[in-house]
């Protein structure tokens, strides 16, 4: 079985990947700045400057994702897991996103009352923030997002579904790779978000998968995490065995 802690342990590999990711937006900004400097046309200069800003935004997004991940220490994360009630957590995240967007967002919180997961709170926030951010970023001018959760045996399945263009099956494994950004989205993602989410889920003994959205339209990100009762039951059993 794959060691869930391993992804975060290889810091060297991570910084190599990130340095690699930073090079492309820096290269783009540099080329565009040279074009702007050489141009006599003020309108063209404006266009180049706007693109330079996009490049810089992507650079800063990558940097904030690095800061996020460097704050995750696997052993501590696993030690400080608690029972988290999902519905109110999502509700406060939706409030946070609405505040930042400055307008009402169509995010439907369909998580039933009383569903809890056993996870590290900080990590779970990273996961949900990333999934909501992706759904808002990549699902067009009028995003409509639904978040659901259901308990299935020992796990809780959480899904974030949008009605955007979706991701074709052949791209699905690639978007989980660190640093991969689907071409032609016109968005300034860092290419790190989903891989970080997947690694956090794995660290918690869960998983992440990508599906078609409702009626084949859009994207559904499905994550599984341990539900509260299972872990307790397991640890009780372990205590007995000891």
């Amino acid at each position: 079985m794959k060691d869930p802690i391993a992804p975060f342990q290889s810091e060297q590999r991570f910084s190599a990947d990130v340095a690699h990711e930073l090079r492309t937006p820096i290269a783009a900004s540099r080329v565009l700045a040279q074009l702007a400097l050489a141009s006599q046309d003020i309108n063209l200069c404006h266009d180049y400057l706007k693109d330079i800003l996009k490049g810089l935004d992507r650079t800063s997004l990558i940097i904030s994702q690095i800061q996020l991940v460097t704050g995750i220490h696997p052993e501590q994360v696993l030690k400080s897991r608690t029972d988290i009630v999902l519905r109110p957590m999502l509700a406060s995240l939706v409030q946070e996103f609405t505040l930042i967007a400055g307008k009402k967002l169509n995010i439907e919180n369909l998580i039933p009352e009383g569903i809890t997961v056993f996870a590290n709170e900080g990590c779970l926030l990273i996961v949900l923030r990333n999934l909501l951010d992706n759904a808002l970023r990549y699902s067009g001018a009028e995003p409509y997002i639904t978040v659901m959760a259901e308990k299935q045996d020992e796990h809780v399945l959480i899904s974030v579904t949008d009605q955007g263009p979706g991701i074709a099956p052949e791209f699905r494994s690639r978007v989980l790779e660190r640093g991969y950004r689907k071409p032609g989205t016109g968005q300034s993602g860092s290419g790190l978000g989903l891989s970080i989410v997947a690694e956090i889920c794995a660290l918690h003994g869960g998983s992440l998968s990508l599906r078609d959205g409702i009626g084949g339209k859009g994207l559904k990100v499905l994550i599984s995490l341990n539900s509260t009762n299972t872990i307790r039951a397991q640890s009780k059993q372990t205590e007995k065995m000891c």
């Binding site: 990711e21 090079r23 937006p25 540099r30 080329v31 565009l32 040279q34 050489a38 490049g55 032609g184």
Partner: protein
Amino acid sequence: MRVLLVEDDDLLGKGIRAGLSQEGYTVDWLRDGQSAEFALMNEHFDIVVLDIGLPKRDGLEVLKNIRAKAIKVPVIVLSAREQISDRITGLDAGADDYLPKPFDLNELLARLRSLLRRSSGRADPLIRYGELQLDPASHSVYQDGKRVNISPREFALLHKLLESTGRVMSREQLSQSLYGWDTEIDSNAVEVHVHNLRKKLDGDIIRTVRGVGYMVDRVQA
């Protein structure tokens, strides 16, 4: 000169395309390895700017595949990996040059000129043909020491013909080299440019090959 740009990043691709177009290149831009390989197998390009990390097919794989089919187009590889070993891998896969990101636009342009020069078997940065002199870096043309005023398209056409002396270039080849895929062009656009060039240049440099296209003879009397 027609360049195939293969880059999946929107911003970087946009910047490079603008930079190359300003230099008078005809730029066709593809964003994945698979379609780049298909284009290279089926159409003529004078030079290729190839990113390594590409969707659908890795840039290095594209490079190996086209070299295996004996496609000799000069290729400069752009890569976010800058270890010496990565450069060696790129060059061994068949790249003619390797430029790590981020890079200077002017350096990329200079390297393209140098690759084009080498691919046409020239050591001199100026293209000389009898009393005619063409400078790809400054886009200037001189005949008998006097500057000839020509448009960017005329320059591109003359450049292409002088880099391929002794070979007949079909109208289609020349038109692709001048316009690539993007622009809807008039079917006799090449003829018009040739006509104008002939008026501006002394002597019968560009020869019409009936039913085929145009050529510049290899040795001038």
